[in-house]
C-alpha cells in the first residue's frame, strides 16, 4: 500500500534504569518490537495503561528519541538516515501536541510568539507575512488577537491547548502525533478540542496518531486502534472490529473497563481475575508479557513470545492462545 505515511519495522526502545559502575545494568523496555503502518489521512488511535510506551512510540515516530533498534519510515524513507537538510524538511511535515499544554509552552514567551516560532525556525516569510499566518491559524483554532499578547499562565487550559495546536499546525504538517491532548482538560473543553482536531484534520488532510488512555475518546475519533501493553502492540484492528470483536484478553479487559450506563449493558468479559488487578507487582515472564495477568494463559505462554498474526482481515493479535 503506497498510502502509508509512517511505517515502522520492529521498533524497540529501552531505557537504562540504574547507571553505576558496579551495579548490574538493568533496562526498562518502553517500546518492544513494534511494526505498524499508518495510512495517509487516517486517525490511528493508540490506547493502553500508563507506562505502556504509548508516548515513547509517538516520540520515536518523530525522531524526538532515537530507537534502540528497528526503523521508522516516513513516506518510505528511513528517518534515521536523514541529513540535516532532510531532517529539517521532516520536522516541517511532522508535529506533536502534548498532554500538558502549560508545560509545552515556554512560560516566558507570549503565546503569539510561540505560534510564530516554527515560521522563524524555518525562515518562512517576512515579518508581515508571518503575522498574517499567525493571525490566520489563531482564528482557525479560535484564539482572539488580544490573547496572542498574553503569557501562557494568563490563559485557561483549553486556550493553551489551542495555542499548542496552532503552533503545531502553522507549518502545515502532514502527520501529527497527539499525545493525550485531552487528558489535562475539563470534560466540557475536551469536546471542543476534539471537534477542533477533527475540523483541522478535514481541512488540512492531516494524519493523526492519537494517543490516549480514554477508550471512549478514541472510539469517537479513531479509524483504527492499536492496543499497547508493556511496550508491545498486542492488538490492532479497525475501530468497529475492535470494539465488536476484541480478541486479545488484555483488550477484552480494557474494553470491559469502559463505564456503562447500566450494569446490564456490560458485555464481553464476564469477570476480571484478581491477577489482572495486581499490575506492577509481578515479574514479567520470559514469554508473553501479559502471561502473569492472563486469564486464558497456557503452559507455553511462559516461554514463547507471540508474534502478531492477522486473525481477521486487518485485525492483528499478538497471542498464542487465539
Amino acid at each position: 500500500m503506497n498510502q502509508d505515511i509512517i511505517t515502522t519495522y520492529r521498533l524497540s526502545k529501552s531505557y537504562e534504569l540504574s547507571k553505576g559502575i558496579f551495579s548490574k545494568r538493568s533496562f526498562i523496555q518502553a517500546v518492544n518490537d513494534v511494526s505498524i503502518r499508518i495510512r495517509k489521512g487516517e486517525i490511528c488511535g493508540v490506547v493502553g495503561e500508563s507506562g505502556c510506551g504509548k508516548s515513547t512510540l509517538g516520540r520515536l515516530l518523530l525522531r524526538l528519541e532515537e530507537p534502540t533498534s528497528g526503523k521508522v519510515f516516513f513516506n518510505g524513507e528511513d528517518i534515521s538516515t536523514f541529513s540535516n537538510t532532510s531532517l529539517r524538511a521532516f520536522r516541517r511535515k511532522t508535529q506533536i501536541i502534548f498532554q500538558d499544554p502549560y508545560a509545552s509552552l515556554n512560560p516566558r514567551q507570549p503565546v503569539g510568539n510561540a505560534i510564530e516560532e516554527g515560521l522563524l525556525i524555518h525562515n518562512i516569510g517576512t515579518p508581515v507575512e508571518r503575522k498574517e499566518l499567525v493571525d490566520e491559524i489563531s482564528e482557525i483554532v479560535g484564539l482572539s488577537k488580544e490573547q496572542l499578547q498574553l503569557y501562557p499562565h494568563e490563559l485557561s487550559g483549553g486556550q493553551r491547548q489551542r495555542v499548542c495546536i496552532a503552533r503545531a499546525l502553522i507549518l502545515r504538517p502532514e502527520f501529527v502525533v497527539c499525545d493525550e491532548p485531552l487528558s489535562a482538560l475539563d470534560v466540557s473543553i475536551q469536546a471542543q478540542i476534539i471537534n477542533l482536531l477533527l475540523d483541522l484534520q478535514e481541512r488540512y488532510q492531516l494524519t493523526y496518531l492519537f494517543i490516549s488512555h480514554d477508550l471512549s475518546i478514541v472510539r469517537h475519533l479513531a479509524d483504527r486502534i492499536m492496543v499497547m501493553y508493556l511496550g508491545y502492540v498486542v492488538e490492532e484492528a479497525p475501530k468497529e472490529e475492535l470494539f465488536s470483536n476484541p480478541l486479545h484478553p488484555y483488550t477484552q479487559v480494557l474494553l470491559s473497563s469502559i463505564p456503562v450506563h447500566h450494569p446490564s449493558l456490560r458485555k464481553g468479559v464476564k469477570f476480571v481475575s484478581k491477577e489482572l488487578l495486581r499490575h506492577g507487582e509481578i515479574e514479567p515472564s520470559r514469554g508473553c508479557v501479559f502471561e502473569p495477568r492472563c486469564p486464558i494463559k497456557q503452559q507455553r505462554c511462559k516461554k514463547d513470545i507471540p508474534e502478531p498474526r492477522e486473525v481477521f482481515p486487518y485485525h492483528y493479535v499478538r497471542c498464542i492462545a487465539i
Partner: protein, 351 residues
C-alpha cells in the same frame, strides 16, 4: 491571583514581591548608594573645584585635564587651586579674596584627591577638615575610600561577569547535552572546587604582573563553578519539559533552544548566584589587597587602606573602622539583596 495581578510579566511579579521585603529594599538602597559613589567619585572627591567664579568669569577646573592651562584672562594653574583651599576651613562653598582674584568657588564634598600627600597631616584623626582622618602619608581616607569603591565594584562586576559567561556556557552545555559532556563539565567543576580558591588566586597572581584586570580575570575564571551548577540543574529540569520537546519537533537548533528558550527560564537562580557572586568577588579583592596581592599601589582600594592600618592599629582606629565598615556594608547589602531576590523568585510562593 491572576485576576488581582492582571497583566504583569514575570519580572514585574518578582519586583512587586521584592518591594515588600524591607530588608532587601534597604540592601538595594545601600547597593545603589555605593554605585552612585563609585560612578560620581571624581565629583565627590577632588582637589580642584567643580565650579569657580573668578573675576567675573566662570571656570570648571574639575573638567580640565592636567597641564591644560585655563583661559587666557585668568591663568590659574591646576595646582594653584589647592593653595586656595588651605587658607580656610573647607566648606563646599568658599569666597575667594586674593590679591588679584575675587569671586567664589564650589568644591567637591571631599576636596582632596586620593593620591594627594599632606605631610603636615600624617595620621590625623577624623576632624572637620578630614572627616575620616588621614593615613600614614597624609592622604585623606574618605577620598581614598570613595575611589576605592570603584575598584571594589568594578572588580565585583567584571569578575562575576566573566564567571557568569563561563558558567552559563559550560553549565548550559553540560545540562543540555548530558552524557559524557555533562560528566566532563562536572569533573572540571569538582576539581576546581577541591582547590581552595583564595590560595589558587594568590598562586596565579604571583605569576602575573600586578594589575586590576588580572585580578578580575583570575577571580572570574575561578568563580564560575557555582553558576555553572545552577545553570546545569535548571537545564536538566527544563530539558525534560514538553516545550523543549515541542521546539525540537519544530526543528529548532540546540543554540536556539538553549539561548532563546531555556536560558531565560533558567535566569532566576543564576541571578541570585550572580548577586552573591559580586559580594564574594568584592570580599576576595579586599582580601587580596589586604595581603598585598591586590591592585598596584597608587590606586586606592578598601583592602589596601585596611592593610596600611595594621601598623597603627593601636591608635589609628579610623584606618580600620571606615574601610572595614564599607566592605562589611557592601557585602551585607549584596547578600541581603540576593536573599530578597531568591525569596521573591521562589516559585512556591506563586500559588
Amino acid at each position: 491571583m491572576a485576576m488581582k495581578v492582571g497583566r504583569r510579566s514575570y519580572w514585574g511579579m518578582v519586583w512587586s514581591r521584592f518591594r515588600r521585603n524591607p530588608m532587601a529594599m534597604v540592601g538595594l538602597f545601600i547597593t545603589c548608594f555605593f554605585w552612585a559613589v563609585a560612578i560620581f567619585a571624581p565629583l565627590l572627591a577632588n582637589d580642584r573645584p567643580i565650579i569657580a567664579h573668578v573675576n567675573g568669569s566662570f571656570m570648571f577646573p574639575l573638567f580640565y585635564s592636567k597641564g591644560e592651562t585655563i583661559k587666557s584672562d585668568s591663568s590659574i594653574s591646576l595646582d594653584r587651586w589647592k593653595s586656595f583651599r588651605q587658607y580656610k576651613a573647607i566648606s563646599p562653598f568658599q569666597r575667594l579674596n586674593e590679591k588679584e582674584l575675587s569671586g567664589w568657588i564650589i568644591w567637591p564634598i571631599v576636596p582632596y584627591s586620593p593620591t594627594e600627600h599632606d605631610l603636615m597631616e600624617i595620621l590625623s584623626p577624623p576632624s572637620s577638615k578630614h572627616w575620616f582622618g588621614t593615613d600614614d602619608r597624609g592622604r585623606d581616607v574618605l577620598s581614598r575610600m570613595i575611589y576605592g569603591s570603584r575598584v571594589s565594584l568594578s572588580v565585583g562586576v567584571v569578575a562575576v561577569g566573566i564567571a557568569t559567561v563561563v558558567g552559563i556556557i559550560l553549565g548550559g552545555i553540560g545540562g543540555y547535552f548530558g552524557g559524557w559532556v555533562d560528566a566532563l563539565v562536572n569533573r572540571i567543576i569538582e576539581i576546581l572546587l577541591t582547590i581552595p580558591t583564595f590560595f589558587l588566586i594568590i598562586a596565579i597572581i604571583a605569576f602575573l604582573p600586578p594589575s586590576i584586570y588580572n585580578i578580575m580575570v583570575v577571580i572570574g575564571l575561578t568563580g564560575w563553578t557555582g553558576i555553572a551548577r545552577f545553570v546545569r540543574a535548571e537545564f536538566l529540569k527544563l530539558k525534560a519539559m514538553d516545550f523543549v520537546m515541542a521546539l525540537k519537533a519544530l526543528g529548532a537548533s540546540p543554540v536556539r533552544i538553549i539561548f532563546l528558550h531555556m536560558l531565560p527560564n533558567a535566569m532566576a537562580p543564576v541571578l541570585v548566584a550572580i548577586v552573591f557572586g559580586v559580594a564574594g568577588a568584592i570580599l576576595t579583592e579586599s582580601g587580596l589587597s589586604f595581603l598585598g596581592f591586590g591592585v598596584p599601589p597608587p590606586t586606592p582600594s578598601w583592602g589596601d587602606i585596611l592593610s596600611q592600618s595594621r601598623d597603627y592599629v593601636e591608635f589609628a582606629w579610623w584606618l580600620t573602622v571606615f574601610p572595614g565598615s564599607a566592605i562589611f556594608l557592601t557585602i551585607t547589602a549584596y547578600n541581603v539583596v540576593g536573599e530578597g531576590l531568591r525569596d521573591a523568585m521562589d516559585p512556591k510562593l506563586y500559588r
